[in-house]
Subunit: 248 residues, 2 copies
């Protein structure tokens, strides 16, 4: 049996959610509420000591790290529809893309997202409660990110992240302007992992991602959203409101 | 035919070098001289536009990114001795370790290494020549790293990197204090990729990595160095001098 601990279908949580639906693997979804800091509660840190979603429970064994979970589903369910090319060269190309998401693309988009949305959540909490919540975060870098979001990220950090988002968007467009998919002619984890970050940029970063400047990227985002698995997933797994339970 | 473009057997270059020797795959080694900035020359940027080693040429197809190259060798040469567990859960554990090297462990050790060694190399070059060399670096983050090395990294950066090195060393020791290998009971890419960064820390970071404080880590480093493949590799692939050709 598969249980996926995740937030709603965005960012890193979206990767295994979409992969599970594409592969047609039944699973129990256990959604955590980021506005409640549920992922830093002791019960969840007993599952993932780093206090991070997504995490997959497969018959009692926990697999962490969104990209690792996606590759795990390929290894553990070889009879389900493949999201990884059989050819070793294409598989390496896929991994260069998924690695790039994890080391570059996801971070710059995340910082701007935190500045725009998480900062308000962090500022709505009183000093004492905020410090108590931060103290429960097991990863020092994440503690710092929460403090930065509350204080506002320094302007030079935001400028640099926006530069990187521009680089990222151009890199994606360069490939997608004349290809349906990022690797070969197959829909793979390279697409899923990049889509997890890129989906929504047509709205949040419309000055960069739009039909005029990045027609290939926009068409690819639409192409993935139109897939039956994506449609089912977004219908069944609602986005979170980023509000605490009592306020929701 | 396999051709590996690399520096000497340290850091990211060490990963595929050791994997190739362990797998018994014959290859042509093409060593670049970092002190000559050979990896930023046009002939090499035609091979890897990012100007980074290692890069593998397999019958004319280029594979980049050290960890991706290692997984590629597993996929492309399934009959050679395996460095990746067959079990999907162990394979996922292996990937959590190799990902951690690439996203955390390698960076903190690298910064201190650059501060200690590359900085001298960068300062030995005149202003004009230095700027000309930096202008040829295709990755902006690498340009910044060269400038930081020449100017000296800010103290708060060095302090933070030393903190992360401490975290890294404790994480490795926590596993290795009572295990021979990082994943299961098999020598895998998790060991090779971590060893690529950890080997030499007994000397360069002796206050952290020593038989008293980290007996498991030290024994593991010795265990890998004692392997026939490692012995052959270090005998056949000399470390670089970090000196330009005319001064070597």
């Amino acid at each position: 049996m598969l249980t996926l601990y995740s937030f709603g279908p965005g960012a890193n949580s979206l990767k295994p959610l979409l992969a599970l639906y594409e592969k047609g693997l039944p699973f129990e979804g256990r959604r955590l509420n980021p506005a409640e800091f549920e992922h830093h509660e002791d019960w969840f840190k007993a599952i993932n000591p780093r206090g991070q979603v997504p995490a997959l429970d497969h018959d009692g064994t926990i697999i962490t790290e969104s990209t690792v979970i996606c590759e795990y589903l390929e290894d553990a369910f070889p009879d389900a529809p493949a999201l990884r090319p059989a050819d070793p060269v294409l598989r390496a190309e896929m991994r260069v893309w998924t690695k790039w998401v994890d080391e570059y693309f996801c971070w710059c988009v995340s910082t701007i997202g935190w500045e725009r949305m998480i900062s308000q959540m962090a500022r709505a909490i009183g000093d004492e409660e905020f410090e108590a919540k931060v103290a429960r975060i097991p990863v020092p870098e994440q503690q710092k990110k929460w403090r930065d979001a509350r204080n506002g990220f320094p302007k030079e950090v935001l400028d640099e992240e926006m530069r990187k988002i521009g680089v990222s968007v151009r890199r994606l467009e360069e490939r997608l302007k004349d290809h349906d998919w990022l690797v070969g002619d197959q829909y793979t984890l390279a697409d899923i992992c990049n889509f997890a970050i890129a989906n929504g940029m047509q709205k949040g970063f419309a000055e960069l991602v739009n039909p005029t400047d990045t027609p290939g990227l926009v068409a690819w985002i639409d192409r993935i959203n139109a897939r039956p698995a994506a449609q089912r997933m977004f219908a069944e797994v609602p986005r979170e409101s980023l509000k605490p339970r009592e306020a929701a």
